[in-house]
Amino acid sequence: MEPQEVVDLVRRVLGDMVRDVKIWKGNDYIEVEIDASSIREAAARMKEAGFDHVKDVTAVDYMKEGRFRIIYNLSSYNNFDLSYYIVGLAYDIPRDKPETVSLADIYTSAEFQEREVYEGFGIIFKGHPDLKPLLLSPPVAEQKPLRKDFIVREEPEIKVEKKR
């Protein structure tokens, strides 16, 4: 299956929800940009079309442009031809209002990863069954460490408390 055929398939499945399609270097990663409002509908249709699991869910912080980009990288286990490709279902949300809808009931494989995005970026997934930090302890997760304005210092951070 050629990359262009996958693009055609995605266009056929998603119809006019597609804003932009881009095939990145290596010809196996296809990024499909859609509207934030249509993500649930798009995900359900993609699952019907054979993209049966989520490889990973991630967010990228574009601080200067004031937006988060949330990406669901979908692929297939059942379909040998599709399994060569990764389709990144991407949409933007404003940085000052980080709220979106959860896909955990459509893709069970996204459940833990949405929790990871939640703890790293502070993006709230509405409708998630159990939205709480996955890897970090609650005090650390409050700092939203994966955002670009959380700066990791090059010098080590050592806090020495006064001896009792």
Partner: protein
């Protein structure tokens, strides 16, 4: 395992991280297992039990979360390789190779053929060592201490080979952008063939003492069954997926390096229980041995040639080239440290011993990554605890945990 019911006199302020329980309803207890427990540590599972039956299980990960994704954003591209290696240090080459390939994709280069074979060589050595490590930990979980001792002893054969090839027991940092760091030393392939013969013989011993052991069969058969549909729905990966009847292996579905030129098969089992996963791993070791034999033959036939991409090798001083011809060691130029990667995104996957690892790499054209997202095999397999464990007895939990071959540092990143 020490279990203490909260409320005992004198233990009110002492909460044991090992295993303790509290009553949360009529006949319903909440038991906290880990992060200090008798198997390999760093992971906590909170289970709710009714009598001896687990009704709910919740994995509590993140005890080894060292924030690799964030740290890589503050370091040069090449410095991220040793960083990501610490995810699974006994599987170092497999874990870092997709990252290296993703950056190569952005650069638009490919490693020379010999470097590709060398990468496959170390990948398969690592894979066998990691499987043996998994068997050893599984033995600890099941209280089968011989199965801890034997695989760990045999693992040293492969660790020793890797050390001979790269100079480090575990953290090799072997694949770098554009190639590998070292060529094979003299006499390596002979020792490799000896190790392959030895491993084949030992697998027969494992079969006698572990795989066909009636006690092990009684504990593993029909335990932790992952049906095919559920395996796909949960997106679990690696040998666990293939033991559930899905023929998916990145080495076949999305061939990288020279895997499409090598002759090997993907073993698949239909049962999907813990016992099938043990068989799956034994079969995978046999396939890895098959690959290694072919790589050894190829390396014998082809003389030494540069193992770095032309782009980096043509600017190397003559001294570096002389050192390479004499010792097989590649000295990396300073250009590696200050390299800028063209703007773009790349997605790359690789098959590690525990399953598929995927890297989403985004560059803004600078000398540091803009965003790297890693999703490792163990992190994907962690969903099994939530959806498969309920319904089993408490004694089945170590069997399921061990058979999934969960490695917490890899899952937590």
């Amino acid at each position: 395992m020490s279990g203490i019911v909260r409320g005992n006199v004198g233990f009110n302020d002492l909460k044991i991280p090992g295993m303790w329980s509290r009553k949360i309803g009529k006949d319903l207890y909440e038991v906290f297992i880990g992060p200090q427990h008798p198997g390999s540590g760093h992971m906590r599972i909170i289970i709710r039990i009714d009598g001896d039956i687990i009704v709910e299980a919740e994995p509590d990960m993140g005890y080894v979360h060292r924030t690799m994704e964030k740290l890589s954003e503050g370091r040069a591209w090449i410095k991220a390789i040793p960083l990501f290696e610490r995810m699974a240090i006994h599987d170092a080459c497999n874990v870092t190779l997709p990252y290296v390939r993703a950056v190569e994709k952005l650069l638009g280069i490919e490693a020379p053929l010999r470097a590709k074979y060398l990468r496959v060589l170390l990948c398969e050595i690592n894979r066998i060592a990691a499987f043996l490590y998994g068997f050893g930990i599984f033995g600890v979980f099941l209280g089968h201490s011989t199965m801890y001792m034997w695989p760990f002893g045999d693992r040293e054969v492969w660790v020793e080979l890797a050390e001979w090839l790269t100079g480090a027991r575990l953290t090799h940092t072997y694949p770098v952008f554009g190639g590998v760091r070292r060529d094979v030393p003299e006499g390596f392939t002979d020792s490799l063939r000896k190790a392959i013969r030895y491993m084949r013989r030992r697998l027969e011993d494992y079969r006698k003492i572990f795989v066909d052991n009636p006690v092990i069969r009684a504990r593993l058969e029909d335990v932790g069954v992952i049906p095919r549909n559920l395996a796909i729905e949960l997106g679990i990966t690696g040998p666990n997926l293939r033991a559930s009847g899905v023929r998916y292996d990145v080495r076949k579905n999305h061939p990288y390096e020279v895997y499409d030129e090598l002759d090997f098969e993907i073993p698949v089992f239909q049962e999907g229980d813990a016992y099938a996963r043990v068989h799956q791993r034994v079969q995978e070791i046999l396939q890895s041995l098959r690959i290694l034999e072919q790589v050894a033959d190829w390396l014998d036939k082809h003389p030494r040639e540069p193992v770095m991409h032309e782009r980096f090798w043509k600017t190397a001083p003559p001294l570096y080239k002389k050192i390479f011809q004499e010792t097989g060691r590649v000295k990396l130029g300073a250009v590696m440290a200050i390299m800028k990667i063209p703007q773009g995104k790349a997605y790359e996957r690789g098959e590690t011993a525990r399953g598929e690892i995927s890297y989403y790499v985004e560059s803004d054209g600078g000398n540091k990554p803009y965003r790297i997202r890693i999703h490792s095999a163990s992190a994907r397999n962690a969903l099994v605890y939530k959806y498969i464990v309920p319904g089993h007895r408490v004694m089945d939990l170590p069997a399921i945990y061990g058979s999934i071959d969960y490695f917490p540092p890899e899952a937590d990143r």
